[in-house]
Symmetry: C2
Subunit: 544 residues, 2 copies
């Protein structure tokens, strides 16, 4: 087969032995496999409940005439023994890293080989652009082995190219046909899975029998669908890594007794990561964006609430606190959102902050000068304010500091330290949970391709149970869609799942948080453990 | 006994069960003990080589007439079985947190009890101020047990009070006499151990028989004396935590292939932490402050060197790098040091940057505006520039960016992301190495008190070997001293140990770093493991 290889100096190194002891140990680890996957020739997908979509189904159906309203699939035992055909399958890693991506690929590889030893797996290099630019390589056991149970996406690389323009779809189809692929597995978040659904539909329309399968990945935790998709992969590993650090900082703070730590956590708009880390570590306060929207809390209210906490604790002799802030919270504060929208409009008209409305001017004036400068000068390529660059943790702590300075009733001290945890949690070693989960997701994808199902997302059910009891199932990707306006056009896309304020995890948090605020109930989860008692080595997300 | 208790709400909580599974598991862990500690009634300290001091011994001797030039002590087997007296001992945690502090206390407690079951241990609360303010509590097995093998200093708290003023020394002596203490163990860094030596001398002069013993603590790694004190406790746990994060970020970077990560690491002036983390993770570049001094490298040279690296890598298709920066490096760049010294002088005279010398003005103008503002406005309580607040990582990356912008030969892209790792590494769970090391240090302190030795620092030798083979020894604290000018007065203090540029760890780094710079030789140490293969669960510092 023809192949163009990415510069992969790292790989040859692994085979030369430049791995840490833990890398080697994990590479040799065999994740536990659900019982249902014991004999692949004795299982098949059975048709479950029919599906529709989250948003306007009629509109969505017009975009997906061939793949809409398919049933959920459940892998079941029984029926006759069957023999699978050998297949040629492509796989691509898309978007931001999440721990476990490599295990989806090894699970897929092992699953395909178990179904037919001559099946072939091709990895596209550098994300979706690897498909479009025909950069790929054959994946062999020799090549894969050092990546088993390892973090990162470096086996293939990744990017954020979207595959939705007609010429990209046609190019992808051309490559699929040229490589004679029977299946294509897209490992990605909501947008990449939307792309998978679009490509699946496109291929069917063009008469190509390739099966396009999606895999739910994102550390943000916002790709969910109860009960079949309780959480995307990578979420657990990221939250465990952040919780280790938060626990360490809490213990440091409780020893030094003089700092207030503001910890911003990656996770885009939704506050799943922050909620999970709060459940793991019991901080004094954790902002939840979804609650801020629901209560329509203003920046003034939020910062007053924090100042109240710090004042009461300080006056009780506790001039230390730890506060978790989701990175997306900034967009959920109505007045900031209004200000940013106005600024974007003004800047497009080459006006400046002097033309702001009275309301937004008042908000702008409230902000620390550093943040004002950031809002006016830090632009994305479209000329918009770079929301993700706003140092929310500093913005909030600066306002809190001013408030405390103006409160003669405050008897404590306030020394703020800021942290942002993000990249640290995306590419660490996957936890045992994510290792097994991803390995099962890869097997599910192999079985979907073998069974002839396109436009599905591989899913694993009953994740709270022992991996042996997990169920393999699949969701039609279109069933997760609603309509969104993107660049002025209404489009069917997968609907991001926000924190459910009526769900048990949030309710538990809400019940406990007053206790955590004033008592010191910090928990120290410690570093991820791969061996030892299952209470820590086999743990699952608390918000599952 | 009378006691004043610190607010310790956390403690009762532990006994109520609010600990994570890993906290519980570690609390039940018994660290391995050196063979020499098997029968405490059959060992004693033998007199080793005589000592002097690092600096002007004549001057130092005048400050320590009673405790100067004592011999090194080595714990040896043999002699007659002896019976120990019961003793009353105080212990205090001083300065910044380091993982393992709690194990020094449990090692001390267990050691004292093994020597005589009725011995009593008192913990002073909130650092040295706990001695001065008579805040302490009796430490019992029930109280100690949840802190075994746990991070943080929260069992007693800590502070940065120095105990050197005559009234403080007298107050300490009064408290020692009031509590009828036979021993006082001071767990701290170079300054706290200097204080221990001063107090030991003071007590002898005043006819008090208390034995004051120091314990070498600091994550910075700058409290060393070959061969008996190869590294202070806490250094390993901190470096392992930082290396986990650096490895995760490297892997993320190698997957995304579009960011240059500037990672600043805690560690005060010396670059031990950065060197150790570099050996653990193989970054593309790591600045070593000691080398910068030796070569008298300018800011311009350092940033040009980084720009060269990024240009070459970028032009080879690798627009990603990871660069480690010691927090203290800023003081080692001669021109920045000169600028800061001048600014401190000018600001004291209420002048501003306009009065800088030509040389310093040129340096000042080179700095990014944000850093200029920081230098002019961010003052410590004495009105000096806050060196530790300078965001060195941003300073360097901003200058590098300007340089790259002016190089038409640069074909890559440069997107900088900044990190600072510090507090995360001070209070995590101690590694198995630090757990056992600290437990042995605590035993050593108990034996020193039992043996009647004051002004000594408890040490453990042969740390690279299996803990069973470790040797227990003790260094006269004065032997580590030199003279330093502090607040205008020449004083004998423990000499901080900088990275030895002729030592094996640095030489190895120097030999390897060109390979690491251009190839991608990143290593992923992963999270600290407490169980499993000794290759990762029993590892020791690489720079040991």
């Amino acid at each position: 087969m023809g192949k163009i290889e990415l510069e992969m100096s790292t790989h040859s190194r692994y085979h030369g032995g430049s791995m840490t002891p833990l890398q080697k140990k994990r590479a040799a680890f065999a994740p536990p496999v659900p019982d249902i996957l014991e004999n692949l020739c004795e299982v098949s997908f059975s048709r479950g409940e029919d599906t529709s979509a989250i948003g306007d189904w009629k509109e969505i159906k017009t975009h997906f005439p061939n793949t809409f309203a398919r049933p959920v699939l459940h892998l079941v035992r029984g029926g006759e023994k069957h023999t699978s055909q050998k297949v040629r399958v492509g796989v691509v890693l898309s978007g931001g890293q999440a721990a476990g991506g490599h295990n989806v690929i090894t699970g897929l590889f092992d699953g395909l080989r178990r179904l037919h030893p001559d099946s072939l797996l091709i990895g596209f290099l550098g994300g979706h652009s690897g498909i479009i630019n025909e950069r790929y390589r054959e994946l062999t056991e020799h090549y894969l082995s050092p990546y088993r149970n390892q973090g990162g996406f470096d086996m293939l690389g990744s990017d954020r190219t979207k595959m939705e323009a007609p010429q990209h779809l046609q190019k992808a189809l051309d490559v699929i046909q040229k490589l004679q692929l029977d299946g294509l597995v897209i490992i990605g978040g909501d947008d990449s899975n939307t792309n998978a659904a679009v490509l699946a539909e496109y291929c069917i329309r063009k008469g190509c029998a390739v099966r396009v399968v999606g895999i739910p990945k994102t550390i943000d935790g916002d790709l969910k669908s109860y009960p079949l998709l309780a959480c995307p992969f990578g979420f657990h590993s990221a939250c465990q890594t952040y919780s280790e650090m938060i626990g360490n900082i809490s213990r440091d703070m409780l020893s030094a007794r003089k700092y207030t730590h503001f910890v911003k956590l990656m996770g885009r708009s939704a506050s799943h990561v922050t909620l999970e880390c709060a459940l793991q570590t019991h901080p004094n306060l954790a902002l939840i964006g979804e609650e801020i929207i629901e209560k329509r809390q203003t920046l003034n209210e939020i910062t007053s609430q924090i100042a109240d906490l710090i004042e009461r604790r300080g006056n009780e002799g506790k001039s230390y606190s730890i506060i978790l802030i989701p990175e997306g919270v900034i967009e959920f504060i109505p007045e900031i959102k209004g200000l940013i929208d106005e600024l974007n409009m003004l800047l497009a008209q080459e006006k400046d902050e002097k033309s702001l409305s009275m309301t937004s001017k008042r908000v702008f004036d409230l902000l620390p000068q550093k943040i004002q400068t950031q809002l006016l000068l830090d632009r994305d390529p479209h000329g918009n304010v770079q929301v993700s660059h706003i140092q929310t943790e500093e913005l909030i702590s600066t306002i809190v500091k001013e408030k405390l300075n103006n409160r003669p009733s405050f008897k404590g001290t306030f020394n703020a330290i800021h942290h942002f945890f993000g990249y640290e949690g995306r590419s660490g070693f996957p936890t045992n949970f994510d290792s097994a989960y991803c390995y099962a997701l890869g097997h599910g994808a192999a079985l979907l391709i073998d069974g002839g199902y396109s436009g599905y997302m591989s899913c694993v059910q009953h994740l709270k149970k022992n991996p042996r009891e997990w169920a393999i199932c699949a969701l039609p990707i279109t069933s997760l869609m609603h309509l969104e306006t993107r660049k002025g056009k209404v489009k069917p896309v997968i609907c991001k799942t926000l924190v459910n304020l009526d769900g048990y995890p949030f309710k538990y948090f809400k019940d406990e948080r007053v206790k955590w605020a004033y008592g010191d109930h910090y928990l120290y989860p410690g570093p991820i453990q791969f061996e030892g008692d299952p209470s820590y080595s086999e743990c699952v997300p608390k918000s599952l």
